[in-house]
Each structure stands twice: as C-alpha cells, then as structure tokens.
Symmetry: C2
Subunit: 329 residues, 2 copies
DNA sequence: CTGAAAGCGCTTACAG
DNA sequence: CTGAAAGCGCTTACAG
C-alpha cells in the first residue's frame, strides 16, 4: 500500500494537519519540522493522492478538453498550443471524446456533471444557442474554441472571411467557374465557408451554382479526410463543363484532391484551408488558421477565468490569412 | 451546489446506502424504490462525483495514456485505436505528456504515484531495463506500446525487420548506394532501424557507410518532422557521388524529403516508414506499422490485466509490411 | 507554529 | 431488501 499522510505524521511525530501543510506550501510550518517531513516523504516515496486531494479541497487541478474527433489535424495542432500553456501552469490535462453515437448535448452534460476538472475547453463542439445557455447552470469555467456563444469566452476564426478570401483570390486570377470541395454540408465550419464562397462570387457578379458544391461520399470524420477529398475531386473532374479552379474546405481533403487530379491527369488550381504543417511541403496554397495560437490563447483565457470567475466575457476572432503557394500558380 | 446522494436519500426517504446501490447496479434494491430514486435523480440532475467515487471505491475507472509527444502522427493513429477500445468498455481516457524538460523517469514516477488511473498505456516511452524494473514496485497495470520489457505486457513493431525489408526492396531494385534519412540517432526507433538497414546491406555485400546516414538539423520532435526531412534530403542531394536511393525513417520526413528533391530538381527513389494515411495519396512507398491496431490491441491487453492482475505477461510483436507505391518506381 | 476535529461525497462490509 | 457506520486520504477553519 502506498504511503499516506498518516504514515508520515506518525514517523515524524506530528499531526497529519502539519504534514498536509508542508505539501500545500502553507507558510506556517517551522523550517525544522518541514525539513523532517520532506525527508520522510522522500524516503517512503510519498505522493498525495489526487482524488483525495480533489475531494477535500474541491479542486482537481485539471483542465479537460472536450472534442468530437480526437485524431484530426485541426485538433492536434490546437492541442499542441493547449499543452504548451498547461505545462507552463502546472495543470493536468484530460481529454474527453464526444462520439457520434449518442447525442452531443447529453454527453456534454454527462462530462460536466462528473466534476473531473476545474475548467473545460470545448473544441469544435457545436450546439444550439439554447443548449449552450442551458449549460450555464453548471456554473463552471468553459472556453469555446472554434465555436461562438455570447455567454462564454470563445476563440475562433472567421470562417466566412477565410472562404471569402480564398475564393476572391481565385477570382482575381481570372477564374469564374470555381468548385467548392466541401465536407459534411450541415457542419458548422462548412456552412460558414459556403457563405464566404458565395459572397465572393456574388460580389463579383459570378452566379452562385449549387451544383459546384461537391462533397465526397465517405462521412468518416465528417468528410475531413484524404479519401473524401479524393472522391469529391473525382466528381468535380467529370463535370461538364469542367470547373476551372477549386477551393477545398481543408488541406487534408486537398491532399486527396491532388491525388485525384494526378490520377485523372487533369490539373486545375486548388486552394486548401487550415495550413497544416504539411501544406508547405506539398506546395498547397491555403488559408491559415492559427491553430496552435488558438489553443494557447484559449487555455490562457480559461485559466484566467478559473482564477477570476467574474471577469468580463471575451470573444476572440482571428482573421485567417491567405497563403499562396504553387498549387494556384 | 450540485446534488449528492444525501439530497436524493432525503427526498426519497431512504438511506444513502440505498441510493448508492442503485447507481452501482447492485441487485439488492426493490424495483419500486429503485424507480423512485432514479426519478428523483433525474429531476435534480444528479451525477456521482467521480473523485468521491474514486476515493471510496479505490477505482478511478480511467486509463491513462503516457506519451512523450502528443501531436505526432504515430501517436495520433495509436490513440485512435485506444479510443475505439475504451469507448467500447466505458473507461475514461486521460493523457499525460512527458516533456523533454525534465527527466523522463522522474515524470513517470510522478504520474504513477498520483494514482489518477487504474491502468497505464505507455506509448514510445523508452527507459533503461533497470528503470522499468524499478517501476514494478508500484504494482499497477501497465502496457507498453512501441517499447519492450520482459516484466510488462507490450505491443510493438519489429523496427529492425521493417528497416531491413525497406532496404532490401531497394537493393532488389538494383540500388547500392542507399542513403538512410534518419531522425535523432540516439532514439530507440532510429537505432533499431539503422540495424535493419545495415543488416540488409551486409547480407548483400554492400559496404555499410556511416556517412550515408543523414539527419536534419531541427531536433523538434526528435527530428520526426517535415522540416527535418527536408533538411536531411538537401544534404543527401549534395553528396558526391549522389546516393541512388533513400530510405526515410518516417513518412512525415519523406514528405519534406520529396519537397527537397523537387526544389533541387533531382529525384531518387525513396521509401518511408509508418504508412500514415496520407502516404497513399502522395504515392509514397513505405513500411506499414499497424498503428491503430496496436492501440486497440494494447488497450484490450491492459484491460485484461486490470481485470486479472496475475495473468501471464504477453509480448506482441507485429511484423511490418512493405507497401510499394510510385515513389520507388 | 501546531493539533483535534469536521467534512468532502461516496462505497461497502455487517447486521438485520 | 435496507440502514447505520466506518472508512477512503486529504484540507481547512478553529483554537491554542
């Protein structure tokens, strides 16, 4: 059995309260007894039991990240930023995965009720306005990433603007029949991007044609996969007339799309979305989302709120940046 | 304040023991009182407090994944498998990140002592034989992934064999001056792969030349990055005489290497390692590690051990499979 | 600076 | 089928 504060207290000839104090950095312990306790603790390999600490102090010292698809490029990058911040602040990280099998809201409530963490980072979790409002009752610090709601701190990217810029750049190159290689159309990021795409077209007197919005058939990860990009591009390349350029809703889909063009031996300019690290190496023009920064900043934001629950709610919206590489040459 | 079993017990006019029993699926509760309790619980939005449960029952119902670099392709894929298994078994997932800043062993001990989980999955954590042995004293279920030790269950891939096969396939194509594009040479996977590479050469009477083993200069993520691959390939392409083929220690480095070849306008056949999803789409020949399966299987293994601590230790070693695509045409 | 004691929200023999 | 009670390993006013 692992050592407890009782064991240490006994060996040191003090009370458990005193032992507890030295591990809580409470000032009020004499240097002598502090030293003695620390020595004994070291000797027996003592380490506080996290659950007991959590229960007694009502603090878990952990931040939970709630996310729908864990092995996803966007999430990976955001997580990198979260980790950097958390490590710096000495919090534990826990990850909770929302599956597609059950209702999202139910799962979200479930995880909040367990009180496994002191603060929550919701990444790409999309709920109705009303549902978000309902969650306020749990009265726990929550920061939204890639989602927006007036009652919570949030960090997101202007998807509409990003799609607008990407489409606009294609229009500026003289293209008019521009396909939109989409993922699951009902998903939040996609519907926003469709709007931006549409706006750019209309502003330039180019008719918006629904049939130019094409998705793949695989719905794994909502279609944000190489495969889905490949499938969609195959469809695009068989359209008549052939679109003269294509905006892809993610870089990873663009990778599949490029392969499709190669296989079909037809090439049209394409632009991606995200700027995952790899994009640079395959020469993919894209729209950069500062994913790592978003994670870092959101975590900072959450910790601030945990320390000061009454601070004003802040909405941070990044404007995505256009990155031009060889795929649109 | 959130509802507790005391609140429910009071409203239902029963003891807390009874309330506790219905949430623990203990058989011994009458249908009538069970129903009543469940109704009240629903009404007040009750959910057991995980920490209190954990402390009282000495069970945390969570599995912790301990990993050095979280945002890494290999890990991502393995994690996918872990999640599938865990979801099926209703365990919580926690992730602990070992940083390069402090000593690995210290951090590992630290996390074990907190008792945050009932079982641990160590991914790509490499320690001395003796250190692993020391950890046995914590007497907690641990399964090793991508590492091997006699005292623990483990799931790994035969790296030497994989490198051997890759190199051999290049030799079979008639190449003799084969470069090895490496990452951090002192890392476990790399040193194993160097061995396999060497073995293939020697078996075919090709001299082993140290200078053909080249790494990039960036050491971020131990060199398993696009950038590091790019840098290394630039060096390889300026060698005189030019190597006639190249084996890369990971697919992600191969992506960088391909870009370097394109920029330098020199192309030599290359083969990667891992078979990340993307490899298929860029036509990269590679050595497949069944990453997702490894995660799935390792988790199964860990859960089995958690349920039966005295079961025999098992070592599972996958043999990597060669996948030939256009990069070695 | 230190200790006794109550409490955090559960679980689980034990007794009935 | 149900309850009283001890215990899980800590924290934290309160009193001295």
């Amino acid at each position: 059995m692992a050592a407890t504060i009782y064991d240490i207290a006994e060996k040191a000839g003090v009370s458990i309260a005193t032992v507890s104090r030295v591990f809580n950095k409470s000032a009020n312990v004499s240097a002598k007894t502090r030293k003695k306790i620390l020595e004994i603790a070291e000797e027996v390999g003592y380490h506080p039991h996290a659950y007991a600490q959590g229960l007694a102090s009502r603090k878990t010292n952990t931040v939970m990240v709630v996310v729908p698809v864990i092995s996803n490029y966007f999430f990976m990058e955001v997580l990198g930023g979260i980790q950097d911040k958390l490590a710096e602040q000495n919090y534990e990280l826990s990850i909770y995965n929302i599956t597609g099998k059950k209702d999202t809201f139910t799962q979200v409530e479930h995880v909040l009720r367990k009180r496994l963490a002191e603060g929550y980072l919701f990444i790409s979790i999309h709920l109705d306005n009303e549902k978000w409002t309902q969650l306020k009752k749990y009265n726990v610090p929550i920061t939204l990433v890639d989602e927006h709601h007036d009652s919570y701190d949030s960090v997101s990217v202007d998807n509409k603007q990003g799609a607008y810029r990407a489409t606009k750049s294609l229009i500026n190159e003289g293209f008019t029949r521009i396909a939109l290689l989409a993922a699951l159309k009902s998903s939040k990021p996609i519907s926003d991007r469709i709007e931006g795409y549409k706006k750019a077209l209309l502003e330039n007197d180019i008719p918006f044609r629904k049939e130019l919005i094409v998705s793949g058939d695989s719905d794994y990860r909502d279609g944000f996969t190489e495969r889905s990009g490949y499938e969609a591009m195959i469809k695009i390349l068989t359209m008549d007339p052939l679109p003269d350029a294509c905006f892809c809703s993610s870089d990873i889909q663009a990778v599949g799309a490029m392969k499709a063009m190669q296989d079909a031996d037809i090439e049209i300019p394409i632009i991606g979305y995200d700027d995952i690290e790899l994009a640079e190496y395959i020469g993919l023009s894209t729209v950069r989302q500062p994913m790592k920064d978003m994670g870092f900043f959101a975590t900072q934001n959450l910790i601030d709120r945990m320390n000061n629950p009454s601070k004003a709610i802040s909405q941070t919206i990044y404007t995505p940046e256009l990155i031009i590489r060889s795929s649109t040459d």
